[in-house]
């Protein structure tokens, strides 16, 4: 307890009591950017693919990271623009990207699970490009509204997918370096097998639907 407990308690009350401020609701496009930013994190298949790819990238050598990341960003950008361009005839919700995304997650999980070294750089880049492209197709905004708003939402979705991948890959790499080598290797394999198992079930659910 501090020497002046009442002001400390009042301060605590002041910090605990406020509700949402909505301070930036009036910034044009901010809402659309925020919606886009969260879009890759709200659908199961893109999240699974991002986690799987994060494990692969976190396991790999830094030298191949830039190429893989470039492939992911390019694929994601192209996928988003393509989905938006086609949105009038084929709304993003009708694009069957969920199963291919789960299959990419399955491939990435199975690449991490067994006892062998990191994948070749070209294979990681191909996996990243596929994940990016499919994630882009799956997370584009719905048609309608002004073009500027759609572009802002697309930018948000692009940023969200890339930020999520950054944190997942960086977190995996950080744990791999921090943990004792055997524990880190086992942890990666187990995580890979979990992701692959979930991906199998996602595919089965899609097949049963």
């Amino acid at each position: 307890m501090s020497e002046r407990p009442v002001p400390a308690a009042v301060l605590a009350a002041a910090l605990l009591a406020p509700g949402a401020a909505w301070a930036h609701g009036a910034v044009p496009g901010a809402a659309g950017f925020g919606v886009g930013l969260l879009h890759p994190l709200t659908a199961p298949a893109p999240v699974l693919a991002l986690v799987a790819l994060g494990l692969v990238l976190g396991q790999g050598r830094p030298a191949g990271l830039a190429r893989a990341w470039g492939a992911f960003a390019l694929g994601d950008g192209l996928g988003l623009v393509l989905a938006w361009a086609l949105a009038a005839d084929h709304p993003p919700t009708q694009i069957p990207a969920q199963v291919p995304l789960a299959l990419v997650a399955l491939a990435a999980g199975l690449a991490v699970a067994p006892r062998r070294g990191p994948l070749p750089g070209a294979a990681v880049a191909a996996l990243a490009a596929a994940a990016g492209g499919l994630a882009g197709l799956a997370t584009a905004p719905d048609p309608g509204g002004p073009a500027v708003a759609a572009w802002i939402t697309l930018a948000g979705a692009f940023a969200g997918a890339n930020l999520a991948l950054f944190y997942l890959a960086a977190g995996t790499g950080w744990l791999r370096r921090r943990l004792p080598r055997p524990a880190a290797a086992v942890g990666l394999r187990v995580a890979g097998s979990w992701v692959a198992a979930i991906a199998v079930l996602v595919v089965a659910l899609a097949a049963a639907a």
Binding site: P5, A13, A17, V190, S193, V200
Partner: protein, 195 residues
């Protein structure tokens, strides 16, 4: 003075609290928790999952990581069969038998070749996966249910592996083998409907 401060703090905490929604079983959270609790609340699943980790740790590397990697992968295939409505005979008996066999292998300190150990664990994983998979399409959120039950299964393996680390010491090895005997006995009880 201190009592006054405490009173203000309590009042602030009470005023600041939002709704807890502690028991909502809908949506993603509901699906996740029902999936997560399915292996944990079923004792037949629990003892078998712990046995997989325990046996892996008892066998040492690389079985200590290979068995917990093989199990969820094959379990997912069993789950897919359940989701697709493909029947698997004697699922409940297979689950109970997994505890009997794995418990016995631990109790007798059987050190099988890695491939044989993997094959045994994989065969039983089909039954566990099928049992989870048949409930999956009806879950509040099937994807979250799948995530929940895969993670819970893995955590139970980790519990077994951690207990299996005791096998490094002579007394610990004895305790692990006794644990295997208890798992076997529990499996027999499940198999014959005694519990």
């Amino acid at each position: 003075m201190r009592g006054k401060a405490l009173f203000i703090g309590v009042v602030a905490a009470v005023l600041a609290a939002g709704p807890a929604f502690a028991h909502t079983q809908a949506g993603v959270a509901g699906g996740f928790f029902s999936g997560f609790s399915h292996p944990i609340l079923g004792w037949d699943h629990v003892v078998a999952m712990v046995a997989v980790g325990l046996w892996g740790a008892f066998l040492g590397a690389p079985a200590n990581w290979m068995l917990p990697v093989v199990f969820p992968l094959v379990m997912a295939l069993g789950g897919a069969l359940g989701v697709l409505g493909v029947p698997v005979p004697a699922v409940e008996a297979g689950i109970a038998a997994s505890a009997v066999v794995l418990g016995l292998l631990i109790a007798l300190a059987v050190r099988l070749p890695l491939a044989a150990a993997g094959a045994i664990v994989a065969a039983f994983a089909i039954f566990h996966g099928h049992a989870h998979g048949t409930e999956l399409p009806e879950a509040a959120n099937p994807f979250a249910y799948a995530v929940g039950f895969v993670i819970a299964t893995g955590l139970l393996h980790i519990c077994g592996i951690t207990l299996g680390l005791l096998a490094r010491w002579p007394a610990g090895a004895l305790a692990v083998r006794a644990g295997g005997g208890a798992i076997c006995a529990a499996g027999l009880a499940f198999l014959f409907g005694l519990v």
